[in-house]
Structure formats: structure tokens, C-alpha cells
């Protein structure tokens, strides 16, 4: 029994869960009522940070300090594409958003792998490129979403918002891929030590490129959903989710050097980040105070959470 308790306490899930509980209590205290709606609306709101957070986790897990900071631009770009194409055909828009996202991921990966440029710098540079594309398409493409698709994203399946449901299904599939499939094992091996992985017969480049492509696909999906959710695309659409998603990724115990991940903790982390902004809005603190509290909270949580993962 004692062992089990210890194991639970050492799991990376603990910290984001604690964060959620604390924030929920704070929200209730501020609003003066125990409100379940906070959770349901939070589940809907957190979808984007969750998709990006999972995507980021996969990239980071591929090792060598990989990180994708072009995510926000991929999301924005695919949002425009989905808006434009959904005028003609909804599935086409959705699929193309994902395909474009995957292409962006592929470009990132190829520059990273074949030119041997650090992933952060690569994605910073490609981020500039994608941003230019966004600026170029933003006044040519439609920027309001398809009504039917908006309706779909607002619909409920068994009492759960459809976007939330989609994200949960994706998270479950990725859970199986990451921890129960050959690819997942390879990815974690590559993330721990690329040379050892190569000598064990793993195709390292392919594994890393695949990680970036999955990342791109998730960003593309998030872009299409987000365009519908926000009532259209705009040039800075993705910026809002940049920090919450990265925070979710690392608060969820992802090892920054790669090779270790926990998708459940990351999902809860994303939910926690959403609760935090709900709380800050509810508490009616000035923007400056909001940012300050947010920053201190993230840093403190990282300080607490990394104690476990560094071991």
C-alpha cells in the first residue's frame, strides 16, 4: 500500500491535478458558489491548449532539446485555410488544414534533421516564413468560418462538447501509439539517446520526422477547430495558446531533454492552464496583475513538478 502511495505521489500527474484543485477552489471562492459549469466550459476551452500541448510533448520527447515554437503560426495558417476551403466543402477544409499542418511539420523536421539545425532555431526561422504566408493569405482568404461547422463544434455528444470528445479520442489513440506501439517505444528511445537508438537498429531520422508530422497534424486540427470556435481567423489567432500549451507540456512532466512523457499529465496540465485564466478573469484583477500571478504560478509549479522528473 505504502509503495502504491509513493508511486502515485511520484507520478507527474500529481502536480497538475493539485493545480486544478487549488484553482477550482479559488474560482469557487471568488465567484461565491460551487459551479459545475466552470468545469464543463473549461473542458471546452482547454481543447486548443491540450492539442498543442500534446503535440509539443511529442516533439520534445524526440530529444536533443527539440521544441516547436512555430506551432502558433501553423495553427493560424491552417485556420485561414479551413475557413477558405470550408466555403466549398467542410471535410475538404478540415483535411486540408491537417495536411497543411503536416506539411509544415515536415518542413520543420527536414531542416532540423538534414541541415542539423537546432529545432528551436529551425522552428523560429520557419515560423517567420509561415507568418509571412499568413500575412499574404490573410487578405485574400475568407476569414469567417462555415456555419455548419461552427454548429458542429458547439454540438454536444453525450453531454460533452464535440471538440472535447474529438480531443479525448485523439488523446486515447495517441496514448496507445506512444506507450503501446513500436513507434512510441522508438520515439522514447530516440529521445533518450540518439546514438544508442541508431545502434539498436532504429531509423532515427524517420522517427524524428514522424514526431514533427504528428505535431503538425495536431496543430492543423487545432487551427480548423479554433477558427470555428473564435468565429474566424485573424493574424494573431495562435498567440493566445502558445504559452498555455508549452506550460501544459512541461508542467505535465515532459522531460525537456527528451525520452520521457506522460500524455495524461499534459492533458490535465492544459485543463489547469484554462482554469487559471478563468480564475484570473473571475477575480477581476488588472491585466498586469493577471500576468504577474500567471507567471509566478507557472514558475512555482515548474519548480515543484521538476523535482520528480529530474530523478
Amino acid at each position: 500500500m505504502n509503495n502504491k502511495v509513493k508511486k502515485v505521489l511520484e507520478s507527474p500527474v500529481v502536480w497538475p491535478v493539485m493545480g486544478c484543485v487549488i484553482l477550482y477552489i479559488l474560482i469557487c471562492a471568488v465567484s461565491g458558489a460551487v459551479n459545475v459549469r466552470v468545469i464543463t466550459s473549461g473542458l471546452k476551452l482547454c481543447v486548443f491548449a491540450m492539442l498543442l500541448g500534446i503535440a509539443q510533448m511529442i516533439v520534445v520527447t524526440s530529444g536533443k532539446g527539440a521544441i516547436d515554437i512555430s506551432q502558433k503560426y501553423i495553427l493560424t495558417l491552417t485556420a485561414y485555410i479551413s475557413c477558405e476551403l470550408m466555403q466549398y466543402n467542410i471535410p475538404l477544409g478540415l483535411v486540408m488544414a491537417i495536411v497543411v499542418g503536416m506539411t509544415c511539420g515536415l518542413i520543420n523536421a527536414c531542416i532540423n534533421v538534414y541541415l542539423n539545425i537546432h529545432a528551436m532555431i529551425t522552428t523560429m526561422a520557419t515560423g517567420y516564413l509561415y507568418y509571412t504566408v499568413i500575412l499574404l493569405v490573410s487578405n485574400k482568404f475568407a476569414n469567417s468560418p462555415n456555419d455548419a461547422f461552427v454548429k458542429f463544434t458547439n454540438a454536444n455528444v453525450f453531454g460533452i462538447n464535440s471538440m472535447t470528445a474529438i480531443t479525448i479520442v485523439i488523446a486515447i489513440v495517441l496514448y496507445l501509439v506512444l506507450y503501446k506501439s513500436k513507434y512510441g517505444m522508438n520515439l522514447h528511445a530516440v529521445g533518450q539517446k540518439r546514438e544508442a537508438a541508431r545502434l539498436a537498429g532504429i531509423n532515427v531520422n524517420k522517427t524524428v520526422i514522424t514526431a514533427f508530422i504528428i505535431n503538425g497534424a495536431l496543430c492543423g486540427l487545432a487551427g480548423a477547430l479554433n477558427a470555428a470556435y473564435c468565429g474566424g481567423a485573424n493574424q494573431d489567432l495562435g498567440t493566445t495558446y502558445f504559452l498555455p500549451s508549452i506550460a501544459a507540456c512541461f508542467v505535465g512532466g515532459t522531460n525537456a531533454a527528451g525520452g520521457k512523457s506522460n500524455i495524461i499529465a499534459v492533458c490535465i496540465g492544459a485543463f489547469m492552464m484554462t482554469l487559471m485564466s478563468t480564475f484570473l478573469n473571475a477575480a477581476q484583477i488588472s491585466i498586469g496583475g493577471q500576468r504577474l500571478i500567471q507567471g509566478i504560478f507557472i514558475v512555482l509549479l515548474l519548480v515543484a513538478a521538476t523535482k520528480n522528473s529530474s530523478k
Binding site: 526561422a125 533518450q192 537498429g201 525537456a256 498586469g288 500571478i293
Partner: protein, 812 residues
Amino acid sequence: MKHKENQKPYLSLKNIDRFFGITKALQGVNLDIYEGEVIGLVGPNGAGKSTLMKILTGVLPRTNGEIIYNGSPEESYNARVAKQIGVNCAYQDLSLCTNLSIFENFAMLNVSHSMAPSKNWRNETKAEVRKLIDTYFPGSNIDIMKPLETLSLTDRQVVEICKTLMADNLKILILDEPTSALSSDKAQQLHKIVADLSAKGVAVIYISHKLDEIRVVSDRIVLLTNGQNKGEFYSDEITQDELIAHMGGASEKKERINLDFSNQPDMLRITNLNARGLNDINLHLKKGEIIGISGLAGSGQQELLQQIFSARKKKVKGIELNGQLSYVSGDRATEGVFQFWNIRNNILIANLDRVKGKLLIDGKKADQSAQSWYDKLKFRAEGIDSNIMSLSGGNQQKALIARGIASEADIIILNDPTAGVDIGTKQDIYKLLDETREMGKSIILYSTEDLEMEICDRVYVMRDGCITKELKGDEIDVPNLVKAAFIETEKKEITEKKKTGFSQYMTAPWMLPLITLIVIFAANVIINPNLMSYTGLRMKISSALPLIFAALGQMFIVMCGDVDMGNGYSIGLVNVIVGIWLTGSPLLGLLGLVVFIGLYMVLAALIKIRQIPAIVVTMGAQFVWYGLALLICPTPGGACPQWLSDFLRIKLPVIPLPIVIAGVAGVACWYLLFRCRYGIILRGAGNNVQALERSGWSHLVAKIVAYGIAGFFVVLAGLAYTNTCNGADANSSVNYNMMSIATVILGGCDMAGGVPVPVGVVMAAIVMNLINSLLTAMKMNSNYQTAIIGLILIGVLALKFLIHRKERGRCE
């Protein structure tokens, strides 16, 4: 020399216990160290040798026991006391920084721990280092001004050993597996050094798994097993076989069975292979055969194994392969174990197809498969779910070999699989190899230990990238191997590739920023000739100042191996402090800036102490900066302090002030990093923390200093920015974050840390600024500007990568 009957020990360890939790690493160990005596410390892996040495060097505190120095017990024994007593250790994993020059590696150790440089310390240290290397390893031809990364592993080991010899009061020298990377002539030189030192009265503790060597070098052999003393012997009174027997390894001489493989099919045939470091290689491997690759370390064996392994995926000319390959490395730490995983996953990773269901891995099958290997190899662990890092080196190696065999490959390449493995495990491994061959698999074994070659059916001996001799059956014994290893090859004269002055400058890290600066500047001048005027230059460089400072600050953090993702907002915070506080009440403003720099240092401490990735912490911190800035100044306003704009408006004769400021900033950083003593430490910290700490420096302090300097430059950037926009806005300087990172890269710094290029960074910052004005002047659609910066960044790095690859190609 042996100690005399009634000689008092210089230092003795009495009844030393060391417990890690419930594991008893050492139990009541005694060790007397006498002046001038050479102690050979032997014992299987996990015997506690390294733990004992860590206690002796003071790195690790003891749980119980006494350390007696000159007859009186030392209560608070730590690394500093150990240094004072004269204990020095040459580590097996080398405590050197590859980014520093050889001379700087020495300087790191022996400079007095003060920040103030004495006048001529560089030349003095250089002379001392040169003398040291020439005395102890004559003919090694090491250029002490070159970066360490240009040295071979052998030469690095030489440097490591010399580094310990440099200590002022060397009394006890610990050599931890010193010959594992040394060629045999260097090993001979080392044995002579040990003898000389011992004659001078220095006590030497010599740790090695090579028992023949131990017997030659040492006077007294101390045997340790399971964390306890297992006996002491005088080297001239014990034979190697007796020693092995004491260590628990049976020294049975196996009867050689000569098998006939002539009817077996070829699994591998190499004909006239020429490749990097390899010359006209011919060899073949039959089914079920074990062949050995031998010869002096560094004669091309590694290259050969790598070439063979690379043939599994793409066709290599000259290599004909009939079957699957697997590779087992003896370099467990960097090429072998997956540290986050348990034994099960470590074994199965190369064999996942076997335990896969239709789509996913079949957990039950995987457990069974791993369990069967676990039982077969008699791991010493709690079970297949034990983390691999909790095992001893030998048991880790078992898992790796199991991985190689379980992959069902037909040919298994073993690269020095018994390096640092105790004798009992070695026997297990030999047995396993024999069984593997009986399963019809072929084995290629490379080993640094000649004795091990006796299990092979045939042995190829290499020298200088050629195979010089093939030994078969009964011919394979140590004397023959040694003889063959020294066969001279027709050496193709390898001319010392002296880089000409020109090509050396071409590859200098600041060259690229310089060339781009000239090109971009010229382009700007063509479009806008006014730029060349005094006012034109002043305006241009003045507008580049914030980026110059921001990038220099970023450079100090990148040098630590970190990245500051928050300096866009931290410049905004300084901007607000300057524009609102400093203008209104100078004292409050000054205080605010000092506190700000202090916060940067706190950040450094957090990152170091809690081991949190800097990228995430600085990203979180940017919210703190932004929040604080908004609290001070919710809406844009404020103004630049009068004195600041007055100062920046000063007109110097001939050279405009901003150019002077930029130049001074770059040169000051260069002087700090490359001419001051502490600069060595700052750069070393970005490369090898362990080397730093073993030399007695605090990594924490180094990091805090680097972040403090970075914070200082952020303040300068904020000041310059406030002047440029003449107001305060928490939000408007965000772009400096990405821009400063791009500038640091363009300036030639290495993102991995340890390589700051201050002058390059200053030039790159000016380039970035000029690019923008160039694009504006060319009436380029402003939408393309970000794309062009992105493309330039990728282009520069791609170019760098190609140049480096060419470089490396030429060196090898």
C-alpha cells in the same frame, strides 16, 4: 616502493562505511596510504572502488569511520581539505572542457580562485603547461593553444593526467583506469611517470581491470569486493591466476576447440574496402564463427565496425552482407543504455517486431520474452522492472548483449563489450557468446583486452587502418597478438595538415557575420549613399543599439547552454522602469534596475538548483516581467530621462558615438570572456560542468554571474530602447526576443553552449538592423520582411553546417 615495517601512513581511511539508503556500498573498509607507495586497487565492478575514491577526494561524505591525516583524525573532511592534503584524481571520464584550449583547461585548475587577473598569468601558465607535457609525455606533439576537441582520445587522456600532475602539492595521486584510452607506448610512459612520482614520495592509487598491468605498476595490491576489504598482497608475491581466484573468478584455462568452418556459407565478406581511416580491408566471416578484431586502440577498429554496421541499410562498396546485423557497444553511457527505462524495455527495444500483436505491443509476450532473458543471464536485480541505471556496469552490459542477441540478427557486432566489467560477469558473457554461436549466429568481437581474443576462432590484427595479420586457432595467444599489433605498415605519410592562415580565418566563427555585414552594408550604401555620412552612420547604429545589447545579453545565457525566451518582455520592463521611474525619481528607478538584475540572478539559481530547463522558466518569467511592467505603466506614456538622451546626443569627432559604444561593448565582452581568468570558467561552465566542479569551482556561482551579466545587458538594451522610442510601453519590445536569438546564432555562437562570439554578435546585430532598412529602401512588401529574416537564418546555419562537414571530412 614498498612501505617500511614501521613507517607511519600519510593518510589512512579507517572502518569507512558508506550507505546509500539501504544499499551498503562500503562496509568497514580500511586503506593505509604511505608516502611513495603505489597501491593497485582492484576488485570486480560494484566492489565500491569508485565510492571509496570519492570519499578520499572528499566529493562524497562518509557515513561512518575515520580519516586520519598525520596521526590525527580529520573531522570535517571535504573536497577542499582533500585538495590541501594533496589528493588529486585523474578521472576515467575526463574532467576537461572540449571548447577550451588545452592551456585553458590547465589554467582552470590552477588559477587562484580570485577574479582579479595578475598581469602575466597567461604566459606563465602557458610556459608551465608546455614544460609539464614535454617532461612527462615527450614527443606527444600537443599544441596547447588548440581547442581540446581537436585532440584524439589518447591525447585527451594525456592532458587529463598531466592536469593532475600540475597540482602544487601533489601527495596522493589517484589514477582511475588511466590506460583504458591510452595507446601502449603512452601507457609505458605513464608507468614510468608512476615510478618517478613514487620515487619522489608521492603515493599513487592505481585502479585498473588489467591485472597484468596492476602487477607491473604497483607495490601493494588492495582487493575490494562487495564493499569490503578482501585482502592485501605484495605484487611480487602473487600471480595473476591467484589474484583472479581471490576475486572469485575461476581462472580455468579453456581447452581450445578448433572448428572447421570451410563448408559454412559466408555471412560477411569485405573486399578491398577503402574508407575513412581504413585502408584496403579484406576479411570474411562464416556462419557460426567468432572473429576478433585486435590491435592497438585507435588503429581503425572503430571505423571498421561502423562501416560494417552502416552496410545494413545502404549498399557500401566492398562489403557484401548476407543477413541482419546488430550492434552491442561497450560504451554503455553514451551508446548503450536507455536511462529512463527498465531492464525489460532495454532488452526488447531492438526486438519489438517479435512481441508485437497486430498493431500494438503484446504486453504479456513482451514480459515473457524479457523474463526468459532475465533468467538466462542471471541478472543481479529485483526483476525485469528494475530501472537499468540501478544496475552495475556488468549487469547493464548483460542487458545490452541480450538486446543484441534478442534482435535475432545473424551477425552480432560487439564493440569492446567487457570494458569495465568485472571478471565474473565477463565469464558469463563469454559463455553466452559461445551459446550464441551454437545457435548459428556469427560474431565480430572487438576488444581492448588481448586475453579476450582467445575465445575467437580467427583474429584480424589492425594497425593504422590496415589489417596486418590474421591469426587462426592455436596461434591466437597474447604474445602473438602483441607482436602482430606492432607490425609496421607502409605508412602513407600523413602530412600534418597545417591550416594556412587564410583558411583558419575563413572558418573563424566571426567571419560569417563580418562578410554579411560588408555585403549588406555595401548594398545599403548603394541604395542610400547618405548612409556613409557621419549623421547617417550615427542614426543607423544608434537604432541598432538596443538589439546589440539585447543580443549580447542573450549571448551570455546561450553560453550557459540555456536560452532566454523572455528578454522581449524584460526589455519592456526595463523600458518602463526607465521611462516612468527613472525619469520621475532617479533613486527609485536605480533601485528598480538593481532589483531587476537581482531577479535574473535568482532565475539562474532556480534553474541550477532545481534543474529546470531554462527555456521553460524564462518563458514563464516573461509573464512576470510583463505583469510587473503593466503594473508600473498600464498604458504607454513616460519619457526618456533627459541625461540619457543628452548623453547619446554627444557628437564625437570623426567616429559617431553609437559606433564607439557598440565597439566598446563587443570588446569589453571579449576581454571578459577570453582574457580574464573567470572568463575561462564562464565558458567552461557551458561545456562540462563536472570538469568545473572537479577543479573546485562552483557551477551555481558561474551561472548566477552569467545571468547577472545578461541582466545588466538587458538593462542597457532597455536604456537604449527608451532613448529610441522616447517613452515607456510594456508591450512594444517583444520582437527583441526572437531577434536577439537570431542575432546570437548569426553571430557565430553555438546553441549548445560554451562558444560566445561577442564581436560577431555585435556585427550580426548591425546586420539585422541593416537588413530591415534595406528591405524598406527597396520598397519590398513589408509582409516579406519576416520571411527574409527566417530564410537568412536558415541559410546561414545551413552554410555553417556544410562548411563544418567539409572541415571534418578533411581532418579525418
